[in-house]
């Protein structure tokens, strides 16, 4: 099948080029849309009545529509919060230029339901399978990014506890290292390992894009299952968004993001956050030994070693809209995490002293220039250096129990051997992105990323440095070609990607116990296509495909030189990812409706996992162990009535099966679990979000809004479903959250009261790792722009 796809890509490209050539027309219209204050407006919808032609304004407010026959038309300009404008125009052979100022700005404050056909909606209507979430809608919530993203289709985030806990992010059934994280197209790791989606406040990003299985070349990474891209506020306007929330379990979150432009034209930007929580929530029905009765009994106890604190500050200073640069910024940042570790992989393993502390510094450079050398050629450069390090402290000589008691034990907690493990990961990263718009119908994107990281790990109790650090350098280049055919009704993006990796390590340990030097270079090619066809202006179908890779880490390939041995034959994880989808949106009077849905298919092979080597439980080797096939479907509907009422409903079904046909070393018999559903994975889940709000109820410029959401996870088996007499199930979960926001002065001052897990359900993302019960939070937010 995939060979067929490969075979067909080239002919399709050729035929489409021919099609587009035949579709050339002479009439065109271009211009800029501005607010009454003269601010360029992005994402305003421009349509030509009676045709399928249309466009959205770019971030600088510009738009261009071509491919029209000369004649008289009515141009319609609309954008949420502004009065719709209809303009009679006459097109001749020359391009018509129009500057349009929208009027009648109404309630476009942040924090209210924004349902305009903004950038998020545009992304959803691209050929890629992407969830685009306008996080401004949630800006008054005390939630972190994970909480917001977990409410979207195809995404399931499984946290191991409360604030700051470890988590596993799954996109359409693929998780772990298969998912990559970005901020403005840059890997999140360049900010340091302290920056994760479970501690970034929702206010720091304007939008989040979740690419499922197929990634545009501009996100240069070996993402097997997909990627999450946080998009920060890129407007040139000055603004300040400051918030503070506090609540149960002594949880505090503060976040500031803002921009200021000096009189000299120098722009300063800063983003910062602080998270703190004791995470001392109640663990229900925990087994504890009663010394009097000499029996185990079930008791409710509080977590006692789960304190979490993370801080981050990132600043940038530079200039915009200069002759030599649209954007030039130099930046620096620092992040820090301190974490007590309460449990192991299940709550039977209780820790009372283990710690993880990390901090990271980074320095960044950002440069952007449009129309470089020639019109339509844009260059975007980013470079950074990161010093990222963390320390794992596991030196106690005690075994702890859930009631906080402990007994002496001549061993560490997390492993037998006591460790003060230092992990230092200096990283250099550079990205250059060229985009070239040859014409409205044809554009190209060339992206190259260089990502180099060393891994220096040592146990301070036995060494003072890593004598054998590993180094990996990844070169990822992608070339994409996008064509907009039939007046942009049909959009195709074809792309190819090159993945190159260089691995070096002074000494690696081979399977027979010999030391050799490790040096390897490997390269792989990926490719794909994303296509969308608008059957009607607001109804489209789309499809995308990618042969995707996840390259091995240096430690997976070369081990660590003492208890992880090398496996030079390790292959990258790879997958054929296919998405099919459709969307439909309509507006009638004050009601807006949007629906999208689709199916997905993942055929992933060569998953890399550590395995015990030579029956020696202390020595492991990474191997390509298994194959997984995922098929699924997801759908979401949204309804808005003005800014009064909003409703989102979505559901995801995914069927992940073990596709490993032959067991290890088996030549004939199929493995018993072949084609069985992968255990311990949610396979049916959905969300409902509703909000109702009213402006001016408590005075001019005020708004009061009630938000409710429900997360549903259908029961799933902990183990293989066809086997054993009765299987343990993780039961159905219904988690409800409720929030009430009161805003004054058109959203400048906001106060929110929230209750999470309203019905105090016992919540699990992972069985035997309880999550918090009912909790309360208050958030104060000041926003000016």
């Amino acid at each position: 099948m995939f060979k067929l796809i490969r075979l067909f890509i080239i002919p399709i490209v050729c035929s489409c080029l021919a099609l587009s050539a035949g579709a050339q027309n002479t009439a065109a219209i271009a211009g800029q849309v501005k607010s009454p204050a003269g601010q360029p407006l992005s994402d305003a919808a421009i349509t030509i009545q009676g045709t399928h032609a249309g466009a959205y304004t770019k971030s600088d407010g510009h738009f261009r529509i071509s491919g029209l026959k000369p004649g008289k038309y009515t141009l319609i300009v609309s954008m949420l919060g502004f009065s719709r404008q209809e303009l009679a125009i006459q097109l001749g052979n020359a391009e018509l230029r129009l500057d349009i100022t929208l009027t009648g700005e109404t309630q476009t404050r942040e924090g209210v339901t924004v349902t305009g056909k903004g950038k998020s909606r545009q992304l959803r209507e691209s050929g890629f399978a992407v969830n685009a979430i306008d996080t401004r809608r949630f800006a008054n919530s005390s939630a972190d990014m994970n909480t917001i993203l977990n409410r979207t289709t195809g995404v399931k985030i499984r946290e191991s506890g409360g604030t700051g806990s470890d988590f596993q992010f799954s996109i359409n059934g693929l998780s772990g290292r298969a998912v990559r994280y970005f901020i403005d197209g840059i890997p999140l790791e360049v900010m340091g390992s302290a920056m994760t989606l479970n501690n970034i406040p929702v206010n720091l990003a304007e939008r989040v894009e979740i690419y499922k299985g197929v990634l545009p070349v501009s996100l240069g990474a070996d993402a097997l299952g997909g990627a999450v891209n946080l998009v920060t506020n890129q407007n040139i306007k000055n603004y300040l968004d400051a918030s503070y929330s506090f609540g149960s379990f002594n949880t505090h979150r503060a976040a500031v993001t803002g921009q200021v432009t000096g009189k000299t034209g120098i722009v300063g930007r800063v983003s910062a956050f602080l998270n703190y929580s004791d995470n001392d929530y109640k663990m229900k029905a925990i087994e504890l030994f009663n010394d009097e009765t000499q029996e185990y009994e079930l008791r409710d106890v509080r977590r006692f070693h789960d304190q979490y604190r993370s801080t981050m500050v990132q600043g940038e200073i530079g200039v915009v809209q200069k002759k030599w640069a649209d954007v030039f910024f130099l930046g620096a940042g620092y992040s820090n995490t301190d974490r007590e570790i309460q449990t192991g992989s299940n709550q039977n393993r209780v820790y009372g002293a283990a710690l993880q502390n990390g901090d990271a510094f980074n320095a960044t450079l950002r440069y952007k220039k449009s129309n470089l050398f020639t019109e339509g050629l844009d260059l975007n450069i980013f470079a950074s250096h990161t010093q990222d390090k963390y320390l794992v402290t596991d030196t106690t000589g005690y075994r702890y129990f859930w009631d906080g008691s402990r007994v002496p034990l001549n061993a560490a907690e997390m492993s037998n051997v006591k460790v003060l493990t230092h992990v230092n990961r200096p990283r250099n990263y550079a990205r250059a992105n060229f985009s070239y718009t040859l014409s409205p119908e044809h554009s190209f994107n060339l992206n190259y990323t260089f990502d180099e990281m060393s891994n220096k790990t040592y146990n301070q109790l036995v060494a003072d440095k890593d004598d054998n650090p590993g180094r990996i350098a990844k070169h990822i280049a992608g070339l994409g070609y996008q064509q907009n055919l039939l007046n942009a009704r049909w959009t195709n993006t074809f792309f190819g990607k090159f993945y190159g990796m260089q691995l070096t390590q002074a000494e690696i340990l081979t399977g027979n116990g010999e030391y050799i030097s490790g040096n390897d270079t490997k390269s792989f090619f990926g490719y794909g296509v994303a296509s969308r066809y608008k059957i009607m202006p607001d109804f489209g179908v789309k499809a995308s495909y990618e042969k995707a890779y996840r390259l091995p880490e240096v430690s997976e390939m070369f081990g660590n030189g003492y208890d992880q041995i090398a496996n030079p034959l390790l292959k990258p994880e790879s997958s054929h990812n296919v998405n099919l989808g459709a969307y439909y949106g309509t507006q009638r009077g004050n009601s807006r409706f949007y629906a999208e849905g689709g199916g997905f298919f993942r055929d992933a092979v060569d998953f890399i996992f550590p395995k015990t080597y030579q029956s020696n439980s202390q020595v492991i080797r990474y191997e390509n162990t298994s194959k997984v096939r995922v098929t699924g479907a997801e759908a979401e509907v949204q309804y808005d009535y003005r800014d009064l009422f909003h409703l989102t409903l979505n559901a995801t079904y995914q069927h992940s099966i073990n596709n490993t046909k032959r067991g290890e070393g088996k030549d004939e018999t199929e493995e018993a679990s072949y084609r069985n559903k992968i255990p311990n994975q949610p396979w049916l889940f959905g969300n409902a979000l509703a909000s109702i709000g009213k402006n001016g109820l408590l005075g001019k410029g005020t708004r009061i809004q009630l938000n409710w959401d429900l997360q549903y996870v259908h029961w799933f088996y902990l183990t293989w479903e066809d086997f054993a007499v009765s299987n343990e199930k993780v039961p159905n979960q219904y988690i409800q959250n409720l929030g009430l926001t009161y805003s004054l002065r058109n959203g400048r001052y906001n106060i929110t009261a929230e209750c999470r897990n309203l019905t105090d359900q016992r919540a699990y993302d992972n069985w035997r790792l309880q999550k918090p019960g009912r909790s309360f939070f208050v958030k104060l937010r000041y926003f000016i722009h």
């Binding site: 393993r349 208890d563 070393g665 086997f723």
Partner: protein, 405 residues
């Protein structure tokens, strides 16, 4: 002659296999030894799934002589409760949580495909138990490591109350240049504990090159004598997972030394300590590599001075994936090979307890590269092995079999 026997035995195996195939179909409904009849005499431990989605199951079997057993709708998943490093005796299991490390000592019963907790107590004295023996019906001795793996610790357990008496074992200090010590097999012989052990370095550096038995007085737990011999090293895997010692009808103690990664040059070997002697029998040393053509890794006494020895019939690539293990009948007293059980297919490389002995039968669970997997029945008197219970379904790892009653 030998050729014709082999041919005959292959034909017999084929016929039996076909019969079993019929039996598989015929017994398909019967193989679920479901709750209610309590008829299981044996428990089979099986691992299902491909990495990392592996789970372990126990399934009961009334007989290992015939029929088929499958995990489809049968057995119980035990991954989070216990693992195959476990002690079976008289229908009960004793589990010092060596792998899951949940700091408990548990006593389970296994009946009607349910592993039921009889009693549990906190158990934190040892961080990894590797060796055990029963001194009497109600006294279990557990030996293992401290967290730093540089001491051997001992817990004497009352099997009714699970009350323990703990003490560090006074073995000889770790020789200079070596990092740790590991216990392997523990036996209660003639009123004393015989503990095989090895002083280890950090992998892959070789271990202290001696085959060692510590003889420890019970119940005082004082060291009587520690024996060393420089011709081999190691002592199999800990007997929580595999047996590597046997005491014959005369009370003589036999110990299999298996170097594995502990030495790149030494061979596996058999040693003997005659009843009452506090020294290796100087007249007895059997180079098992030479005797069998591959390293011996485990040994199960089957009476009459004989033992079944599990050995590596093909080179080991270290992955456990290949089918390299074979079984041989060895006359312990003579130190001689009686015969190799060539009628059995090569077994996968698991270093686990795949043999159990009941009366005149030794049951050998073989994970075959091709064809079906069977628990082979070795008739000790007739010296003949035939396929018994089929383990139907295609499982990567066949972990252990235990006699329950």
């Amino acid at each position: 002659m030998h050729h014709s026997i082999t041919k005959w035995s292959r034909s017999a195996a084929l016929v039996l296999g076909m019969v079993s195939l019929g039996a598989c179909v015929k017994y398909d409904d019967k193989i679920s030894i479901g709750p209610g009849n309590g008829s299981e005499n044996f428990a089979i431990w099986i691992q299902l799934g491909s990495w990392p989605n592996t789970t372990q199951y126990m399934v009961g079997a009334e007989s290992l002589l015939k029929g088929a057993v499958s995990l489809k709708g049968n057995g119980v998943e035990v991954t989070s409760k216990a693992d195959y490093g476990i002690i079976a005796k008289d229908g009960f299991y004793y589990y010092p949580s060596t792998s899951s490390d949940n700091s408990k000592l548990s006593k389970f019963s296994f009946k009607d495909n349910q592993l039921t907790t009889v009693r549990q107590v906190p158990f934190t004295y040892q961080s990894g138990v590797s060796s055990y023996c029963f001194v009497n019906d109600s006294t279990l001795v557990l030996v293992g490591n401290n967290g730093d793996r540089n001491k051997l610790l001992c817990s004497v357990v009352n099997t009714n109350t699970l009350a323990t008496r703990n003490a560090a074992l006074p073995i000889n200090p770790i020789p200079a240049g070596y990092a740790g010590v590991g216990a392997r097999s523990l036996d209660f012989v003639d009123g004393k504990l015989y503990l095989t052990l090895a002083y280890t370095a950090n992998w892959p550096d070789p271990a202290y090159p001696k085959a060692i038995v510590a003889i420890i007085d019970f119940p005082t737990l004082t060291l009587v004598k520690q024996l060393e011999d420089g011709r081999s090293v190691g002592a199999g895997i800990g007997n929580m997972w595999m047996s590597a010692t046997a005491v014959d009808h005369k009370g003589d103690y036999y110990m299999l030394a298996y170097p594995g990664w502990l030495s790149k040059t030494m061979s596996s070997a058999l040693y003997r300590i005659k009843k009452g002697a506090m020294a290796y029998d100087p007249a007895y040393f059997v180079n098992l590599d030479q005797l069998l053509g591959g390293a011996g890794v485990a040994m199960y006494g089957i009476g009459n001075g004989r033992a079944l020895v599990k050995y590596k019939a093909l080179p080991d690539d270290g992955t456990d994936a290949e089918h390299i293990m074979a079984y041989a009948l060895v006359d312990l007293a003579k130190g001689a090979l009686v015969r190799k059980l060539t009628e059995l297919p090569l077994d996968k490389g698991e270093m686990l307890q795949t043999i159990t002995v009941e009366g005149n039968n030794a049951y050998i669970m073989v994970n075959s590269k091709v064809g079906k997997d069977y628990i082979w029945v070795y008739d000790i008197e007739k010296d003949a092995a035939t396929p018994g219970l089929e383990i139907a379904g295609g499982y990567d790892y066949l972990l252990r079999i235990d006699k329950l009653k």
